[in-house]
Symmetry: C2
Subunit: 204 residues, 2 copies
DNA sequence: GCAGTTCTTAACCGCTCGGTTCAAAAATTT
DNA sequence: AAATTTTTGAACCGAGCGGTTAAGAACTGC
């Protein structure tokens, strides 16, 4: 029964353009005009299809989490804790230094700190990052059960350190530091975790 | 010969208020009204005394670097590379989780990513962070000369890892993660660097 | 108490912001 | 081809942006 004029844009494709804009400029640094220009979508269509700026941003984050952070979920499926860590760190470095995408990580660049009226954006991003950390902690808890990690290892601390390093790499990548340099840093982090996980653990 | 109506604010004190606003909300998330309100300075005075928003921000960064990052310079004066690392990491964790200041680090929160017209702000901050990294690398080069670090240690990689971890801690702190949790992460990083620096070094 | 100087208050500037309205245009259905 | 449905482009909101201007208030020196 419906007919109507067809869209001049693909909803998913336009969303991916929006991902890149928010990724590069952050939530507050991105204007509706920036979005309509990059997405090839006119203003009324943007509002009818995606909602508003805030709604669009939420969809952007969801799309980013599903596609651009798939490497994190993949890393979690490695058979041992050490392999999880190694793969996550290396793939993370690769993900924040892609040639055809902005440098860094949308989850951080998107809105590390915002104006008072947009604090919810910053809090939402922070909460989702910490949720990711918890998944790693749970994976390390499993590893302890499986005697893959020493019984006295601290899964929360390990996960936290892992996320701290990945966030640091994202910040560094956003500053333009090249992939090879970040891989050196990741290698040091790996050594740390290797030592923490294999030995009977003598935490400071 | 001068006279004139006296100011109702102290220039330095008002600047410190501005530091906190930019720290909490970032460059683009801060409006002139936010600043005048927090600083207790009216608009024309703000412009005549500090210049404009961009000029004020530069003064804010300078004030922050001199006062709130003094711990980094202090750490560099420790006698050994390991002590430099330990003190920097611990004091950095403390600095990003102060009770009477915003959580995190102004150098990152201030503008990790900006709109196209304010890219210079993000680049300026990124460059100053990398300049700090270079100072640590130089310190480690000195340590190698002094046989305080093994000759095959990579001073640039060590400094990079150190800054990566501190940036990660800043991002984590901005998300509200408490000091004790960050200290656990810092302890793991210390272990890493201790291993890298004392052993003959077997980098991956 | 008057001249000169400096700061404050409040209004104002052009501009862009996020968001909406509306008629014209382009497609589908019958 | 007529009727219907949907998107398009452009004009339009009120509000807030960064920044400026002009008049008056508070001080100093004489």
């Amino acid at each position: 029964m419906p007919g109507g004029r067809p869209r001049t844009f693909d909803e998913e494709e336009a969303l991916e353009r929006a991902v890149e804009v928010f990724w590069r400029q952050g939530y507050e640094g991105t204007s509706i005009t920036d979005l309509t220009t990059a997405m090839g979508v006119n203003k009324p269509s943007l509002y009818s299809v995606y909602g508003g700026k805030a709604d669009l941003f939420r969809r952007v984050i969801a799309h980013y989490a599903e596609h651009d952070m798939a490497y994190a979920r993949a890393a979690l499926e490695e058979p041992t804790a050490l392999l999880v860590v190694q793969r996550f760190l290396r793939d993370n470095v690769a993900a924040v230094t892609l040639d055809d995408k902005p440098n860094g990580c949308l989850s951080i660049q998107g809105g590390l700190s915002c104006s008072t009226e947009n604090q919810d954006v910053a809090q939402f991003l922070a909460a989702s990052r910490l949720a990711g950390e918890k998944v790693f902690a749970d994976r390390f808890r499993l590893a302890i059960e499986q005697n893959d990690l020493p019984a006295d290892a601290d899964p929360d601390a390990l996960a936290r350190f892992l996320m701290v390093v990945s966030e640091g790499h994202a910040v560094h990548a956003a500053a333009g530091v090249p992939r090879e340099a970040l891989l050196q840093s990741a290698a040091i982090a790996e050594q740390a975790l290797k030592a923490m996980t294999s030995q009977p653990a003598s935490r400071a």
